[in-house]
């Protein structure tokens, strides 16, 4: 199904910080220096040297670990693409923060009613889409249909092997993400997290969870059976005992 994605082309980024500024404005945060993910920062720029700037934001995984582990469904993968968060449902277990392979979600540690914080692909802007893509003056961040963006990324990488490292980041990572990166060097050199698992991470959990109905069914039958068997033995023993008792009397 067609859904929204974001393509970050690191080679085009001039490090102006327009995306960061637009993000803070769009999410009604006070303008501030963005050095890493924190409760006020959904995106930030990393200076990787020799004029290379890499921005980070939530990857909007195709099969997001964060949404899969959330016990109350506060985090959710929407059909349109964004992984959104509903603070009214959240109970603050922070399993999403543990589970995210990209280290994205943050928490309001000093609040009495804390919320998880992360980029929601500007879901609140609806069809207008990500503010960061709108603000980017060079087209280093663009948005559109995920599959079309992926095709575009592959086209750029293939057509200019001198400029681009030959790989699109976000295709295999954790089973695929809706935010894709291409750039001059491999992802590690760009400072992007290394995620080796190439299938959906939630499958690892499901492999165990899917056995629950069987545990209940066979566990119940087995225990019930044991109960009945040993009880019978006991009944028999008691009957014999009683019989003997009568003989003696």
């Amino acid at each position: 199904m067609a859904h929204r994605g974001i393509l970050v082309d690191v080679t085009k980024c001039i490090g102006c910080g327009s995306c960061v500024e637009a993000c803070q404005k769009s999410n009604q945060q006070p303008a501030h220096d963005a050095k890493g993910f924190d409760q006020q920062t959904y995106t930030f720029l990393m200076d990787r040297g020799s004029d290379t700037y890499v921005r980070r934001l939530c990857m909007h995984c195709e099969n997001p670990s964060c949404a899969s582990v959330c016990p109350v469904g506060a985090l959710r993968k929407t059909a349109e693409g964004p992984v959104t968060y509903d603070p009214d449902k959240c109970m603050g277990c922070r399993y999403c923060m543990m589970a995210c392979p990209f280290g994205v979600p943050t928490y309001e540690w000093y609040s009495a009613a804390p919320r998880v914080r992360k980029c929601q692909m500007c879901a609140h802007r609806g069809a207008a889409g990500p503010a960061c893509a709108e603000a980017c003056p060079t087209g280093a961040t663009i948005t559109g249909d995920r599959e079309e963006l992926l095709a575009e990324a592959r086209r750029r990488v293939a057509s200019d092997p001198k400029t681009y490292f030959q790989r699109v980041y976000g295709v295999t990572e954790a089973g695929g993400t809706d935010v894709l990166y291409i750039g001059p060097r491999e992802s590690k050199a760009l400072g992007l997290p290394r995620v080796e698992t190439s299938g959906p991470l939630p499958d690892l959990t499901w492999n165990a969870l899917k056995h629950i109905p069987d545990v209940v069914l066979f566990g119940g039958v087995f225990l019930g059976g044991l109960f009945w068997l040993t009880k019978r033995k006991e009944d028999v023993a008691r009957a014999e005992h009683a019989e003997k008792g009568e003989h003696h009397v």
């Binding site: 922070r94 392979p101 000093y110 959990t205 165990a208 044991l226 109960f227």
Partner: protein
């Protein structure tokens, strides 16, 4: 007995310390709920789970495992000679779960939403399963424990109502515990790259279940010995010794599973070069599994209740070690992040344990938890040269009948 001890300096010390601990707990709670988690913990965006999850939740649930093991032994396998330890074990399990729930209230960012999983479902989440297990099993445990209270207040008609559903409750309890113990291991399945390979494995749910069983039995023995000292309650050594033989088997299964898994995944190589992480692993396996397993296997060793308690204490500590290793050491090792619980985090965990011990002491004082003298003597006499059937045949003495009795 209790009153006498209460006046003794030993218990006086405990009273003072524990009251101070509980007062501190209250103070930290105030800070925590007004200023946020950051004000009292060393948790951070890079290390969102700490001591309260690792100890209060993971260990609280595990130490309660004795509850389902012993209820199953008595009510499903009909090994009635284990009845004298039934009630203290169910009480411990209950307290374990109270520790878990209190720990969660401290740890959850918005504990007032703790009931949300009832109406907001996500069956793909292990945490969702954990939440349901906590709710359901705490209910089952309170029903299993209810007869003790009902007996005390002579509510016989309610007792009669509970009696026929006991087997169903017990079976439900065993299934729920199995799911719950294993699901705590499943929590970490989604973190293949965030947990060190010495601990991360797809068989985590199984390992968690088996080790909880060992810890549950260990806890039962330790606390029987403790109650014997604190209250002079007669719990027979031969029962504890038999339980400890079961421990040997459970520990052996655990050891075999763990080693087989490590070898199959070629993870043992990550022990080298030897560093603090491998030291934690070796200490956990050696002191918490191998040494107590060997000691408990020696018949002569099992003759003294004190030695039994020491060895089983090692099993319990080894279990706590494992849970903290997986939630802290293994995560630190794999992610390169660091976390050391703050003093206040320790104080909360310690305070909750103190509350638990108080409830245990008070329950032992005011509720019929232990078999009374006459009953115990009877059990002793029979226990020495008789099997299950004959124990059953001993007429239940007033005040010592358990409501679980099926005769």
């Amino acid at each position: 007995m209790f009153k006498h001890r209460f006046a003794s300096p030993q218990l006086g010390f405990w009273t003072v310390t524990s009251v101070v601990m509980i007062a501190v707990l209250g103070a930290v709670a105030f800070l925590r709920f007004t200023k946020g988690l950051g004000a009292v913990t060393n948790l951070s965006d890079t290390f969102p789970w700490g001591l309260w999850i690792g100890f209060d939740v993971l260990c609280g649930v595990g130490l309660a495992a004795g509850g389902f093991a012993v209820t199953a032994t008595v009510h499903i396998l009909h090994l009635k000679e284990f009845k004298p330890i039934l009630r203290p074990t169910v009480l411990t399990a209950f307290l374990g779960y109270i520790l878990v729930v209190c720990g969660l209230v401290f740890d959850l960012g918005k504990p007032w939403n703790i009931w949300h999983p009832i109406i907001m479902w996500n069956p793909h989440s292990v945490m969702f399963e954990v939440g349901w297990c906590v709710m359901l099993y705490t209910s089952v445990l309170s029903l299993e424990f209810a007869p003790v209270v009902l007996e005390r207040f002579k509510l016989d008609w309610l007792l009669r109502l509970l009696k026929p559903i006991t087997p169903v409750l017990v079976i439900l309890g065993v299934i729920l515990s199995t799911l719950h113990q294993s699901s705590l291991g499943s929590l970490f399945l989604i973190l293949p790259e965030k947990v060190h390979p010495l601990w991360y494995t797809p068989v985590l749910p199984v390992l968690f279940f088996v080790s909880a069983l060992a810890a549950g039995i260990g806890m039962t023995v330790v606390e029987s010995w403790f109650s014997r000292r604190a209250f002079g309650k007669p719990i027979e050594t031969h029962l504890l010794s038999r339980l400890s033989r079961v421990s040997v088997v459970v520990l052996a299964i655990y050891f075999a599973l763990r080693m087989r898994d490590l070898i199959a995944r070629h993870a043992l190589a990550t022990l080298f070069p030897l560093n603090s992480v491998s030291a934690m692993f070796l200490a956990e396996i050696a002191l918490g599994v191998v040494v107590p397993m060997v000691l408990l296997a020696i018949p002569r060793f099992r003759e003294s209740p004190k030695r039994l308690a020491v060895a089983q204490g090692m099993v319990v500590l080894g279990f706590i070690f494992h849970r903290l290793n997986i939630s802290v050491t293994a995560v630190e090792a794999a992610t390169g992040r660091t976390y050391l619980p703050s003093v206040m985090e320790f104080l909360v965990s310690a305070g909750l344990v103190a509350v638990g011990i108080w409830i245990f002491l008070l329950a032992c004082r005011y509720l019929p938890i232990f078999p009374e003298g006459a009953m115990a003597e009877e059990e002793q006499r029979v226990g020495q040269h008789a099997g299950a059937a004959e124990v059953k045949a001993v007429s239940p003495l007033p005040g010592a009948v358990t409501a679980f009795d099926h005769t």
